[in-house]
């Protein structure tokens, strides 16, 4: 209970505090300090949930079980490492004149606010508050995407705001329909939107209403996951915003949006007793994987390319949850974890690479290994990991997803294999000359923070070789919850 309060209170307090703290030289360290404290609280909470089972707080308004506690821990961890990475990154941006004092103040304060909204979305038991938190997460990041105030970043942020705003409005309509269905069973009490209550009576919810509600919820939150054809905002926002924000958007926000969908899917499955929700998710997921893979080969901007790679991986996870069943759900959860770790590591490396080269255009970034071996190798290993090379965790989860697809939905396998192959060819052929090859770049003014890159990649490797028993049990428990 105390752990949970600390988890939400630290970033919630951190936002205004960093705003008041202003543009002092120590602000990046204070930001990292708040993130570390949040991570410590999440570890404490995780220990409590592992030892004592699911907990509820504040009159059941909050609910933490095996499914969301692992996402809470992941979110707090990546939030902390990203804050470490952003210290030297933002100092270099400031030296270059791209960031100014007031912008950094906004950046640090909104960073904490963004963490708070994501943790709120993950821990709330109230599906209405879940919507409010998802919308607030958009609001917190929109000014971060446009923080450089260039024409391209303003356009990206406007697109992000309008498309995600419209998308999430559909999710609100879905939530209203869900409440409409719930009210008929639970009565017009305040708890008719509480997931735990809905989960108990899900078989009694009216199927006609629930199917329409799920369509709206999937389209709405799907916009935030970046599912094709609702993905238009995602590459722009990732490419034009500062790199730490690309890392948390890709590694964390997409996960949180997907989490919202799977919570709703559990309810829809219970009410419908058909595979309607799963089939919709499989369709959207497969479309995203295939379309994103083909778009990958057409990119020139490195951050855009990895943004499309995120769409591809989110599509794969959506497909896995759509297939359902213990193995597919397990693979989906594992893939969410490793994707989030590896993709944020890649963005860290890419951020420093782009700073060195002074551009994000891939053709102009060459020979990273010569100037800075750690950035070069970080990018290379990260790329191999995200493309699903063994022995990294992505390989394990993709292997599980593919074998399940072969057994249960053989028609989908050729599409998945084709997409993964195309993605491999597209990404590897571009990253290879960026890492090796000749160069005349100069070293950076500040020592880049590469510890997070290798910590993330190490964890990604570990999850591919050996999943600790308690973690495996935890994933299995979460997979069982999803049905």
């Amino acid at each position: 209970m105390e752990a949970f309060i600390a988890l939400l209170a630290i970033p919630l307090f951190g936002g205004p505090f960093l705003w008041l703290w202003g543009d002092r030289p120590s602000a990046p360290e204070v930001n990292a300090g708040f993130s570390l404290a949040t991570f410590a609280a999440s570890a404490w909470l995780t220990a409590e949930v592992i030892s004592g089972g699911p907990i509820t707080a504040f009159g059941e308004q909050f609910f933490i079980d095996a499914l969301n506690v692992f996402l809470v821990a992941l979110t707090a961890f990546v939030g902390f490492t990203t804050s470490l990475f952003s210290r030297p990154y933002m100092r270099i941006e400031r030296d270059k004149g791209k960031m100014t004092g007031p912008r950094l103040r906004l950046y640090h304060s909104m960073y904490q606010a963004f963490m708070a909204t994501m943790l709120l979305a993950l821990t709330t038991n109230n599906l209405g508050i879940l919507w409010v938190a998802m919308e607030a997460a958009t609001l917190a990041t929109v000014l971060l995407v446009s923080v450089y105030r260039t024409a391209a970043s303003l356009e990206a942020a406007w697109k992000y705001f309008i498309l995600c705003g419209v998308g999430i409005a559909q999710a609100l309509f879905g939530t209203i329909l869900l409440y409409f269905a719930a009210e008929r069973v639970l009565g017009a009490e305040g708890n008719a939107l509480l997931w735990t209550h809905l989960n108990l009576v899900k078989a009694d919810l009216e199927p006609a209403i629930m199917s329409l509600a799920f369509v709206f919820l999937l389209v709405g939150y799907g916009t935030k996951i970046g599912l094709v054809p609702l993905h238009n905002w995602l590459p722009d926002a990732h490419a034009e915003g500062p790199t730490p924000i690309s890392a948390v958007l890709s590694g964390l926000l997409l996960n949180v949006a997907l989490y919202s969908v799977i919570r709703c899917k559990v309810l829809a499955d219970g009410a419908l007793e058909s595979r309607f929700a799963g089939n919709m998710m499989m369709g959207f997921g497969l479309l995203s994987v295939v379309v994103a893979a083909f778009f990958l080969s057409r990119q020139r901007d490195v951050k855009r390319m990895f943004a499309y790679s995120s769409i591809e991986h989110m599509g794969l996870v959506t497909f896995a949850f759509g297939m359902a069943g213990p193995i597919a759900n397990f693979a989906g959860l594992l893939h969410m974890t490793v994707h989030s770790l590896v993709k944020s590591a890649i963005f860290f490396a890419v951020g420093h690479a782009a700073q060195k080269a002074g551009t994000q255009v891939m053709e102009d970034i060459r020979g990273l290994v010569k100037v800075s071996p750690t950035v070069g190798w970080g990018l290379m290993i990260g790329t191999l990991a995200i493309l699903g090379m063994p022995p990294f965790g992505v390989f394990a989860s993709e292997f599980l997803i593919l074998t399940t697809a072969m057994r249960e939905h053989p028609w989908a396998t050729p599409f998945l294999l084709l997409a993964l192959g195309v993605a491999f060819a597209a990404v590897f052929s571009r990253v290879q000359p960026m890492v090796f090859g000749d160069t005349h770049m100069k070293p950076l003014a500040h020592q880049p923070a590469l510890v997070p890159v290798f910590v993330h990649l190490g964890l990604g490797l570990l999850l591919g070789l050996y999943i600790p028993p308690y973690l495996a049990a935890w994933y299995q428990e979460a997979a069982r919850l999803l049905g």
């Binding site: 209405g128 607030a136 406007w158 309008i162 409005a169 209203i176 329909l177 009216e206 329409l212």
Partner: protein, 219 residues
């Protein structure tokens, strides 16, 4: 609920729909803001009627929040914004009104059909309201797609939220209070951020025309 109150709610619903059509056809930004305020007022009227008819007291509160937010605060912010951005008398030229009206009618038919299986479960409140709410949402969506200036797009966004709120009061007697407060807060913060944002856009492009924001395309 008496037939009379259900007629009153239907009346407010049709006012909402009528204003959604009027917004679709309106070229002047200033008039759009006034239409938005009137739509908010119709929303308050319907919420109060539902509250009175069903005895749901928390709906009076949500009617109050709606009044403060959508009839007073947001129109005031918008009026201030267009005055300071100097776009008060801007006229949008590139919209084809007859086609928009026809597409709007198609959307209404579509929304009613989509809502039909669900309205049957509606206990007492007038059947058509959920369809009207969905139609308002879709028409605001259409407005956002077809407008090329930033302020009308934002008004479309807010009008969409009005439609959603109407769906919540007419279909379910309002969402739980904590959720409604959260939504109101999000809308307000969103509006403030949009305001900041529009100044940034104008600083960069010397105009609020969204056509400037079409550079990022797939090659």
């Amino acid at each position: 609920m008496t037939p009379f109150t259900s007629q009153v709610i239907n009346l407010f619903a049709s006012v909402l729909l009528l204003i959604a059509f009027a917004m679709l056809a309106q070229r002047r930004i200033v008039t759009l803001i006034n239409l938005f305020a009137v739509q908010g007022l119709a929303l308050v009227g319907s919420t109060v009627t539902v509250a009175w008819a069903t005895g749901q007291h928390h709906l009076y509160w949500s009617a109050g929040i709606t009044f403060v937010l959508k009839v007073v605060a947001l129109p005031l912010i918008l009026h201030r914004l267009i005055r300071r951005l100097n776009v008060k008398w801007d006229i949008e030229t590139l919209i084809n009104i007859p086609t928009m009206m026809l597409v709007g009618i198609v959307l209404v038919v579509f929304a009613f059909n989509l809502a039909l299986p669900i309205s049957e479960f509606s206990q007492s409140i007038a059947r058509g309201t959920l369809g009207i709410a969905l139609a308002c949402v879709l028409m605001s969506f259409l407005m956002m797609i077809t407008r090329s200036k930033a302020v009308p797009q934002v008004i479309g966004f807010l009008a969409m939220e009005n439609g959603l709120f109407f769906a919540a009061t007419s279909a379910t007697y309002g969402m739980p209070m904590v959720v409604e407060l959260g939504i109101a807060l999000d809308v307000l913060v969103g509006m403030i951020i949009l305001g900041v944002f529009m100044f940034q856009i104008r600083e960069q492009f010397d105009s609020l025309d969204i056509h400037h924001l079409e550079k990022l395309k797939e090659d």
